[in-house]
Chain length 314, copies 2
């Protein structure tokens, strides 16, 4: 049931599924560990090759993530996938590296107001934390990848506009500190396609191949248009969440990660290979639904189904 | 309450509102004439400059459109807007021209199966009808514009794929017959951004400045991405429907015109001027709601509202 190596090798874009972390930490209910594992199995079976499976944060803040190490351990049993976890600080990084994740992602807010609300640190203090985490990686798990996700890179519901120069300066500082990749997140659903093109072009001009994923939200319906815009300027990794689960609890009014099903459909329809099998991806909603009964799931493709003749010519 | 001439003059794209025709003919309920007029007034007040207000078809098929001439008469009282009507045949064209519309739009299916289902004519027979309608225009109302909308141009739920060569051949035939513009409609919500770029580029190569509007659906969530793709290759007129009302009753499984509110928001956020005032556009949902109680309206922007600080810098 693992993705075929052929499909993975031919993929032109990487869909990085964030539902088990970003999605689950945004809902009130806590999914049982066994249910999380079944869901991750279904995501792997659909061909997703990079999955953010947990967040290493104190259980008193996010009880939904108390089983992070167990979930990572299970995810690691699948060959060929990249197991990611989010870590907001050095203690979390230590736990994630000890659990054996392939990649950690560090959130750094581009907006000072969001940084204080989300991690209770200024951006400069957060950069110090990033340096500490990178030192820890170097000393304890040098093969582990480290990605920084610059949140609120396109605007902030707390402070309003975020200066593009500051986004680029932060990205450069993270790369200077040793980060392997720096991606841009539209945490608050304020991005538009022109801005997405401009900012990712500037990012690539500044940090070259270390420019990372586009993490877009669908708050005002522009999620897919923004992903298309990012693709147009060379972005090849896209974060999304099955059923659109998730958002950011500390950005008031923000909601709705890009729906993985719709994003994969857009790329596959365009002839841009994702390595993901759409019928299996749609089937992966079942374990999600079973593990989170009553939770609203989103997505246009799941409502309507695949177009007539889909897959026949492929 | 009419749009300011300055806003109209600076607009970089034309949003052609199709709700009063495409939307209303797709719902079961019939909106009262006075309610239609109030809704159209609100659309004009929001700055929309082209509105498809009615369809001239026999009332026994579409009772929702029985008051077409009255609605056109009212719409014509607004200076500075283009009043459009859809006409499927010569009799409808005669009535629309007599009512004094500025522009008629003729639907020609690119798919033979859809043509037979929608107007009960083959495509060749429909081209003959187009020629008859163009002769009628020349003889009775030469100042009236005639646009052909090639429906199912991106795929058909009845026959599956539609050959791009046939779409282009039909467009050329319509222009040869004297049509002022030929647009492409994703009647069935099957288009993807790569296809949209390719087909509109081919259309422009074939018929130059007579290449018309992009009429996209949001069936699988790609509506805005497809509009962005069309914009990228030079399309400057976009059909959309307030609240996403509408679809095509003869294309099973198709639903959901692009939502005007979200489309205008995308362009304005990008700095592409539409001439439309977003708060007034959102207010235009009220007369729609009042005239069609209980009907589902769509749109992400209306759910979430404008971002913090919107319009302050503009």
């Amino acid at each position: 049931m693992n993705p075929s190596p052929t499909a993975a090798a031919q993929a032109a874009v990487l869909i990085s599924e964030v539902g088990p972390r970003d999605g689950l930490q945004s809902v009130q209910a806590t999914m049982a560990t066994a249910d999380k594992c079944r869901w991750i199995d279904a995501l792997v079976a659909a061909g997703l090759r990079e999955i953010e499976v947990a967040s290493f944060v104190p259980a008193r803040y996010l009880p939904q993530m108390a089983d992070a190490a167990d979930v990572v351990r299970h995810a690691l049993t699948h060959p060929g996938i990249t197991v990611m976890a989010l870590v907001p600080n050095a203690r979390g990084a230590q736990a994630a590296l000890a659990a054996g994740v392939h990649k950690i992602t560090l959130p750094v807010s581009a907006s000072e107001a969001h940084s204080l609300a989300n991690v209770r640190k200024t951006r400069e203090h957060m950069l110090d934390e990033v340096r500490t985490m990178l030192a820890l990686r170097r000393d304890t798990a040098p093969a582990t990848q480290v990605e920084v996700g610059l949140s609120t890179a396109f605007g902030c519901t707390l402070q309003g506009a975020v200066a593009e120069d500051e986004v680029i300066r932060l990205a450069a500082a993270c790369v200077a500190a040793g980060a392997d990749e720096v991606g841009l997140s539209d945490t608050t659903g304020m991005a538009n396609p022109a801005q997405v093109r401009r900012l990712f072009q500037r990012l690539r001009a500044e940090i070259g191949e270390r420019a990372g994923a586009a993490h877009m939200h669908n708050t005002r319906g522009l999620g897919l248009a923004n992903c298309l815009a990012a693709y147009d300027v060379g972005v090849r990794t896209f974060d999304s969440s099955l059923g659109g689960l998730g958002g950011c609890p500390y950005a008031p009014g923000a909601s709705g990660n890009v729906v993985t099903e719709d994003l994969v459909f857009m790329f596959e329809a365009m002839g841009v290979r994702t390595g993901v099998d759409l019928p299996r991806l749609l089937a992966a909603r079942e374990p999600l639904r079973a593990g989170l009964p009553g939770e609203a799931l989103y997505g246009m493709l799941p409502e309507v189904g695949l177009p007539m003749g889909w897959g026949v010519a492929a």
